[in-house]
């Protein structure tokens, strides 16, 4: 019975979103106050109904209701309760429902916090959001309904994929979706501005906090996914340029460009049509990412054909949303001219180049991600694009971007003079270069040409971002949250650069063949397999190794990698053993039984790798701090 309640709730949510879209868009266009007044109640109904649907699915999972097909396919009575809840978004149908719920939650927040906006404008924003959620509810109901019954009910479920039974991955999809969907708000603001034919600095001030928060969520979502891939897939890297990763990274890059472009639009009233285009692009890439991943198109064009209804629906939806928005843009954007000019070394210029470089980087990632699909679809052969392509084409625009940020953060609006800031820029640059040279001379083995460049740029950016806020703070001058957030996010980008440089240059890795009591050499480290024994978990049994790691004869780490065998899915899983230390991760993953008592062991020591994710979280933190700036609370909050 309960699954049917969820199903009905979802249908009601669809109807409410229809009402929200219709009354919002048509009501605003015709100036019907009573229609416009219907929009917020429609949002509330939609929010309640979607929440009910999601809650019902959660209850079905918690109660092990295996008469629901989706639950039977993705859960099991032996699964711990926490993972049963996470299993709600463990596969296609449930993650779509989660997506829709997050969208409606954002919509609800916009409705609640937009009471000071002009009524017509707010109605248009909510109307556009209603259209998007209409598409998602329809997609869920017609092609991917999680509430379908299984008759007869399964005695037990097929279990959640063991790879997904992990805390970081349980949190990863909600965060990622919160980011993806958050760009829907910026998209809706952009569409509403185009419909009104009016875009001023107040508009940018309303849009900015929403966009920055969405961007922060997306940053955290990507970082969690990357962290998970690192310790769960057992391959030890933080980024693989996997198409699924790229799908989330492209909207992030464009979203980063968008938050910078919005800054120019807010402060100077410039880049208006460019900002609109980025808002459309960021959300389009979010949609594309969701659908590419969720439809399975990315791995194979052929699984697309395996479920033609889903594929066709997705394509149609993408065409309507992206095509519609771009048509609106072509029609309306010429109305929104910017007037003011600026000098070549003013902040506007730096942000212009920031935008170009970020979009070029996103374009390069896009080309590499889509090429295999296009080539396969056109019958030009099956090809794959790996890091040999992505690394150079991504670094090409992003290395100059770092230098640009280190200088640009000191620039001022409109006027080109860096003035007394020039001293701070040069000083931090000199310090960065000196420290980088000392570091590379001290750790020569593994250093490449890019090692000192990466260190120097990273340190320079970090110091450059912090020098001014710290100086102001020491002198007791006031610091706005916007400035503090910006400094933290850019310093975090510096930290990110430093840690990636260290990981790429100084990782030591080797596959070893070890029997109990044997030792293998990995660079300057020694791995000794001390013990290997059977252990048992809630829904798996495992072989657990105990590995001691030495550096120059001194014990520096103790690792417990596992090889797990999950009972229900009969799947073998590698659980890496990782010793997280302040300056490095010591890593070991068990491979397989090689015979003669030996096991293969993947051994890696990676310096500073945890700072890659820490930096991503700090960037997100910077964004959140910036959105709590007073001027947003006064202007846009309800």
């Amino acid at each position: 019975m309960i699954a049917e309640i969820g199903h009905y709730a979802l249908i009601l949510a669809l109807l409410a979103s229809l009402a929200q879209a219709f009354f919002g868009l048509i009501g605003a266009a015709r100036n019907h106050d009573s229609w416009v007044a219907t929009v917020r109640p429609a949002v509330t109904v939609q929010f309640l109904m979607t929440s009910l649907a999601l809650a019902v699915l959660v209850v079905a999972f918690v109660q092990n209701d295996f008469s629901v097909e989706y639950v039977a396919a993705n859960s099991n009575s032996a699964l711990p309760v926490g993972y049963r809840i996470a299993a709600v978004w463990g596969a296609h149908e449930g993650s779509l429902l989660l997506w829709a719920w997050i969208l409606v939650a954002w919509t609800f927040a916009v409705a609640a916090l937009s009471k000071r906006l002009p009524a017509g404008f707010a109605a248009r924003v909510l109307g556009v959001l209603g259209l998007v959620s209409l598409g998602f509810h329809a997609f869920t109901l017609f092609t991917s309904n999680p509430f379908l019954r299984l008759d007869p009910a399964a005695p037990d479920g097929r279990d959640l994929n063991p790879l997904l039974q992990d805390p970081a991955l349980a949190a990863h999809p909600p965060m990622l979706y919160a980011g993806y969907v958050g760009f829907a708000v910026a998209f809706a603001f952009a569409c509403a501005a185009m419909l009104e034919g009016r875009l001023d600095q107040t508009w940018a001030r309303w849009t900015r906090p929403w966009t920055t928060v969405a961007w922060a969520f997306l940053s955290i979502g990507i970082a969690l996914g990357s962290w998970w891939a690192y310790y769960e897939l057992g391959w030890g890297g933080y980024w693989f340029w996997d198409p699924v990763e790229n799908a989330s990274f492209m909207p992030w890059l464009v979203g980063t460009a968008l938050i910078h472009s919005l800054a120019v639009t807010e402060k100077r009233g410039l880049f208006k049509s460019w900002t609109l285009l980025l808002a459309i692009l960021a959300f389009s890439l979010s949609l594309l990412g969701t659908f590419l991943v969720r439809s399975g198109v990315l791995v194979s064009v052929h699984s697309f054909a395996a479920d033609p209804t889903r594929g066709m629906f997705i394509l149609a939806f993408l065409v309507i949303v992206i095509g519609g928005a771009l048509t609106l843009y072509a029609w309306r954007a010429p109305l929104l001219r910017s007037e003011a000019g600026f000098e070549f070394t003013a902040r506007e210029s730096f942000l212009l180049f920031n935008n170009i470089l970020l979009v070029v980087a996103a374009g390069a990632v896009f080309a590499g991600t889509m090429a295999p699909l296009i080539s396969d679809a056109l019958g030009l052969g099956t090809l794959s694009v790996g890091r040999q392509y992505f690394d150079p084409v991504f670094l090409l625009p992003t290395l100059p971007l770092l230098a640009l940020a280190a200088v640009g953060i000191h620039s001022s609006w409109k006027k080109g003079r860096l003035g007394e800031r020039r001293k701070a820029i040069l000083l931090t640059l000199v310090v960065g270069v000196l420290v980088a040279v000392v570091l590379v001379l001290g750790a020569w083995e593994g250093a490449m040409l890019l090692t000192p460049i990466g260190f120097a740029l990273g340190i320079w950016l970090m110091l450059s971002a912090l020098v001014d806020p710290i100086d102001r703070w020491r002198r007791g001058l006031s610091l706005s949250r916007g400035v503090v957030g910006m400094a933290i996010a850019h310093a975090a980008l510096g930290l990110f650069t430093i840690s990636i440089t260290a990981v790429e240059s100084y990782t030591r890795e080797r596959d070893l063949a070890l029997a109990v009591g044997e030792t293998g050499q990995v660079g300057e480290f020694e791995y000794r397999l001390r013990d290997l024994r059977a252990v048992e978990g809630p829904n798996y049994d495992a072989l657990r190794g105990e590995i001691v790691v030495y550096e120059n004869g001194r014990e520096i780490g103790l690792l417990h990698p596992e090889k797990r065998n999950y009972w229900v899915q009969r799947q073998v899983m590698t659980e890496a053993g990782i010793d997280m230390q302040l300056t490095r991760d010591i890593f070991a993953a068990l491979g397989e039984d090689l015979g003669a008592g030996r096991w293969s062991v993947r051994a890696q020591v990676r310096p500073l790798i945890n700072y890659v994710w820490l930096a991503a979280f700090l960037m997100a933190l910077g964004g959140v701090i910036a959105t709590t700036d007073r001027r947003y609370r006064q202007e846009s909050a309800g």
């Binding site: 990763e245 090809l383 794959s384 392509y389 084409v393």
Partner: protein, 156 residues
């Protein structure tokens, strides 16, 4: 410079930069893209010698050969028409086994042996690398189940 000249300089500079990036990207693309070949194509001499590519097929039962206690191994990849011997040293993914689909990255030696530097991880029991499924289907006439829900790695 007048504002107009400055704007033109800016636009020209941006265009030049973006086209430079495009040319470099195309170059990187041409040099670093890996193509996929199945054993029949390798036997027909279509695959390049001494250039990295992806080889895919099934692991022929009874051909996984490993010296006890060593990381060095060899196995035969087949599409049921032709075979290619693969040698590899290192950790293989969890789901590598006989009679399962596999994708290997590496180079073809002059003696016709494929020297792999990477054996691709499958994330799921039901997942068959799509190229492999197709290659085998074409040769074998058999139907290889590709479960669309499991075709993508379980990441979101």
């Amino acid at each position: 410079m007048t504002p107009r000249q400055r704007r033109i300089t800016l636009v020209v500079g941006i265009l030049a930069g973006v086209s430079l990036a495009g040319v470099l990207a195309l170059n990187a693309f041409r040099d670093n893209v890996m193509f996929f070949f199945d054993p029949s194509q390798v036997a027909a001499g279509e695959a390049p010698i001494e250039k990295r590519f992806r080889l895919g097929g099934m692991v022929r039962p009874g051909t996984v050969d490993r010296q006890a206690g060593s990381l060095d191994m060899s196995f035969v990849v087949t599409d049921f028409k032709q075979d290619v011997k693969v040698v590899y040293s290192g950790v293989v993914p969890d789901l590598f086994r006989e009679n399962q689909g596999v994708v290997a990255h590496g180079r073809l030696g002059k003696d016709g042996t494929f020297v792999a530097d990477e054996i691709l991880a499958k994330h799921d029991e039901n997942y068959m690398p799509p190229e492999v499924a197709r290659a085998i289907k074409e040769k074998h006439g058999g139907v290889m189940p590709v479960n669309p829900d499991h075709a993508s790695p379980p990441r979101t």
